[in-house]
Symmetry: C2
């Protein structure tokens, strides 16, 4: 299958690498020149749990990418989705599927301006990866990938894509309700990422705070109300279990969420697509969400500090 | 007048210095040996707006303090009040007045176990100071000091104390309702200090955040409800004006609140006596205070990070 990865950060590179090594024709695309150059000259360096490998996977800047693709996987940060879609427009033909595996709310709404709903796939993945530096990523453990067509219809093309993911060990699962999957991950991230960022510490550390259950609950309960208004089925126990499972230091508990890494590196965070998106939707329905609102504002202030002091 | 200052940090030292230089018999008391030793050996170094001075004001460790005093002014951090009062017990006689000018709620309740209400004075001051190092403080601008007897009764002793403060240029004002003064300052600190601390930036920076009015309002409105339940008259406009006046960089806007300095230096903060005290009182009255509660928990988490990573 001919696959382009739009956004070759840690996760895009990991997926690209796995699909490429499984025999697909893969092109990574990114907008960071040093990263693109490093991979073009020395290959993609992947630190796996089992050792280190080098992959000769092709990469190009968005502006230099060419060709028609069967599948384009969007892995950019949510604030870049619009720009990435504009940069990918020339790669989309009448048969191209777009799959977003991005975090946060609002990406589907942007992407569906560029592709019909029956060729727009969405999903979430529990795979994790970290960008070590230009051309270098670390692949963390294993995971699975839930996905579905946004219109809810199964097709032979979708089954073909699932097969390709299967062959690449990406553990694809067709999601009965992909919006439930997306919102579950949004709830997970909207609780964990800002708390770790404001506490300036790891997931395990935040999990060890004696009142953590109360703090997480008030955030999640607000998100459940908004999900309900949006007619998205969200299971409170599932979300809470997901959150509390990662507090275990044996899980990814030692991990610094990307939001905290963004702040530490003077970058903007994805808060607008997590708690910020919840607050916006809550306003439409007149649902009070004081906890998500305060968290949103505090991350925005901290982000402003971080971006202004970045050297 | 024979005056002891319990807690010779930045503010205690500044008040002690001003009262001493006005001709009173003043003893600073503190528990930090390096600070006490520095002042005993080299005097108290005070950086004023008008230049630097050295004062030969006496100081001793709490454990080595002796004598009976007309007035003991408590300037310790709120979490140390109980311990400080125990250390001062032997200095209190039947004529001793205790004045607390500390921040936060809960100090009066502790001190009134050690002195009758008619000799317990409370107040707030707008004077500011910073501790530069052992034996060194910086006095910032001017200010005034609102105070009153906790039982609300005027006495000739109180008027004498006000005269002494006047002679020392401490600009004393008898407060019609000292609880209003205390709660006004608590509201001010409960909004400003945690926001600056979570944003990791100055008062002026937080003041420049575009949604700051909304963020401050939700915190203050909760505190107003709790004050009302406590039968403390608190004026919303006065509190908001007080907060918005310091956002001006020409005021103390460049200032890092002590709570942020505490976090940066790996120390515990006064959050338990600000938002934490509001949350506790709100629980008694069944008043929902989600914003103060979340702020409390986030500062506690950040405090845990700060204290655990302090070197």
């Amino acid at each position: 299958m001919k696959i382009a990865i739009a956004g070759a950060g840690a996760m895009g590179s990991r997926f690209g690498y796995m699909l490429y090594e499984a025999g697909n024709e893969v092109l990574l695309m990114d907008g960071w020149p040093e990263h693109v150059k490093a991979i073009q000259e020395k290959g993609l360096h992947v630190v796996l749990d089992s050792g280190e490998v080098n992959s000769q996977i092709p990469i190009s800047l968005f502006s230099e990418s060419k060709g028609g693709f069967d599948l384009i996987i969007i892995f950019s940060k949510s604030m870049q989705t619009e720009q990435v879609m504009r940069s990918c427009r020339h790669l989309i033909n009448d048969y191209t599927y777009i799959l977003t595996l991005q975090n946060g709310l609002g990406n589907i709404e942007v992407i569906e301006k560029y592709v019909p709903k029956n060729r727009l796939l969405a999903g979430v993945t529990t795979y994790a990866a970290e960008l070590i530096g230009p051309g270098k990523i670390q692949a963390l453990g294993s995971g699975d990938t839930h996905m579905m067509s946004v219109d809810g219809n199964m097709s032979t093309d979708l089954i073909r894509i699932v097969d390709v993911f299967n062959d690449a060990n990406l553990n694809p699962k067709l999601s009965a309700d992909v919006f439930t999957s997306i919102w579950t991950k949004v709830a997970f991230n909207a609780a964990l990422n800002p708390l770790c960022t404001l506490a300036n510490n790891t997931v395990a550390f935040v999990g060890s705070y004696k009142n953590i259950k109360e703090v997480v609950s008030v955030i999640i309960d607000e998100i459940l109300l908004v999900a309900q208004a949006e007619k998205v089925r969200l299971d409170r126990d599932e979300v809470m279990d997901m959150i509390f499972s990662v507090f275990d230091p044996a899980m990814s508990g030692h991990h610094l969420p990307s939001m905290l890494q963004d702040i530490q590196n003077g970058r903007k965070t994805e808060i607008d697509y997590l708690n910020g998106a919840i607050v916006k939707k809550a306003e439409q329905y007149n649902i009070p969400v004081p906890n998500n609102r305060l968290i949103y504002h505090m991350i925005k202030m901290l982000e402003k500090t971080a971006v202004s002091t970045e050297v």
